[in-house]
């Protein structure tokens, strides 16, 4: 989780003392919920604010990263739709970018973060950014 955050920012955006891991999932837990969990003494399946898995950030974490990172590209409507359908990003879909050198957060026209990818060839006219993770994972996970 930390290494994922560091791909986008050096800022301490998460209070690590409030972070817990259940199986492969990370959560931020406030004192109230932490105390309840302690008193119940049973494994919780979900608690507090979901941060995601190691390389699969939650929507909450994606938005937090987007607020604290300049590594972002903005896509047009069609590009954003294709991205959440597991497709890589083509140059023609990018309407704006900031510090797009390695890992980048993928934003839509509303400024919402849809996932992240890795810039693989800046000079290419074809695939520009390789999709690493997108919020459509929710649906695919259910199936």
């Amino acid at each position: 989780m930390i290494s994922l955050i560091q791909k986008f920012t050096d800022k301490k955006i998460i209070d690590l003392s409030k972070m817990i891991k259940i199986d492969r999932d990370f959560y931020l837990v406030d004192d109230n919920l932490r105390n309840i969990c302690k008193s119940i003494k049973k494994k919780a399946e979900y608690v507090g604010t979901y941060l995601g898995k190691k390389e699969k950030p939650s929507v909450f974490l994606l938005n937090l990263l987007a607020k604290n990172s300049k590594k972002k590209v903005w896509l047009n409507e069609k590009g954003a739709w294709l991205f959440i359908c597991r497709r890589d990003v083509f140059a023609k879909s990018i309407v704006k970018s900031e510090d797009a050198s390695d890992f980048v957060l993928i934003m839509n026209e509303y400024g919402e973060c849809l996932g992240f990818g890795q810039v693989i060839d800046l000079s290419s006219k074809k695939v520009e950014i390789k999709r690493m993770y997108d919020v459509g994972d929710f649906l695919r996970r259910e199936k």
């Binding site: 109230n32 008193s39 119940i40 399946e45 979900y46 929507v59 509303y110 919020v135 649906l139 259910e142």
Partner: protein, 295 residues
């Protein structure tokens, strides 16, 4: 034989209703934790999704769309939950407030759990219990998607809720039930009176366990998507006989009063304060909602 379409339709007639099939209108609830109602309406309208406010459901809308709303960006970002109109009402009756301790007894897939957290503005505590392991995944996914931050979910049978050693201000018991023919076209062929009686026993047990962890003065909302009196009014009659509780008005402006004459058996008058949803009258799934105060 105590089964089949004619048997059940005859029972409904004896309860005073000639029921017929209806086409359920698809509906959604806007998750105002993640977006304002106005913003989402504008975004969906841009995609040619037609919306019509459900007059009796806070944040609820009927919709029609040429494509599935269950895969669009706004859904993935947790801006709305696809939820049947009547199913949006038990939480509205429960009316959970920020900073309360609330229990959701049978939580998966999480429609009502996420709605409880929404009412509470993500403040306070929601304990969500789900008995079936294979249903926990959908509960977790919906909690994540809707940005719920005040919930703890456990894989647990609500019959064992006492082991949590917690007392709750409010409890939602959306009980496992036999369902109804509106949401299941094969319903009449699958159900018989024995199965309904079994469901009723399970529900009674859950009512008893829920009341054991409800604070004095606290509210229990009991709901079931069933039209069968054994799972609804007769459970309420049993509850009034065995526990120090009273049934209160729901303030809902839809649905009929709970029936207080079940096949010739007279029930407590306060059961009329429950709401019974006959699909042909409400244009929703069959439903029953009771608001109960622990004395």
């Amino acid at each position: 034989m105590e089964k089949g379409m004619n048997f059940f339709l005859d029972r409904y007639k004896k309860l005073g209703e000639t029921v017929s099939g209806i086409r359920l209108r698809p509906s959604l609830r806007i998750n105002v934790l993640n977006i304002s109602e106005e913003k989402l309406i504008n975004r969906l309208k841009k995609q040619k999704v037609k919306l019509e406010k459900i007059p009796y459901a806070k944040h609820g809308y009927f919709y029609s769309s040429r494509f599935s709303l269950g895969s669009i960006t706004e859904y993935l970002l947790g801006y709305f939950y696809l939820q049947e109109a009547a199913a949006q009402l038990p939480v509205q009756v429960l009316d959970p407030k920020p900073n309360e301790a609330v229990l959701d007894c049978c939580a998966a897939p999480g429609g009502k759990t996420t709605q409880i957290a929404q009412f509470m503005k993500n403040k306070g505590t929601v304990i969500a219990l789900e008995k079936k392991k294979h249903r926990i995944a959908s509960l977790k996914t919906n909690l994540e998607r809707c940005g719920i931050t005040n919930c703890i979910a456990y894989l647990m049978d609500a019959n064992k809720v006492k082991s949590l050693n917690m007392q709750f201000d409010k409890i939602l018991l959306d009980a496992p039930c036999s369902g109804n023919f509106i949401t299941d076209s094969a319903w009449f062929n699958k159900r018989n009176i024995e199965g309904i009686r079994r469901a009723s026993e399970i529900q009674k047990s859950l009512i008893e366990k829920s009341l054991s962890v409800l604070k004095k003065g606290g509210t229990l909302v009991y709901s079931a998507c069933s039209l069968e009196p054994e799972e609804n009014e007769l459970n309420m009659q049993w509850m009034l006989k065995h526990f120090k509780v009273k049934i209160e008005k729901t303030s809902l402006k839809i649905g009929d009063p709970g029936s207080i004459n079940i096949f010739g058996k007279k029930l407590d008058k306060s059961i009329a304060d429950c709401r019974r949803f006959w699909p042909n009258k409400t244009n929703t799934a069959g439903f029953f909602i009771a608001k109960i105060r622990k004395l």
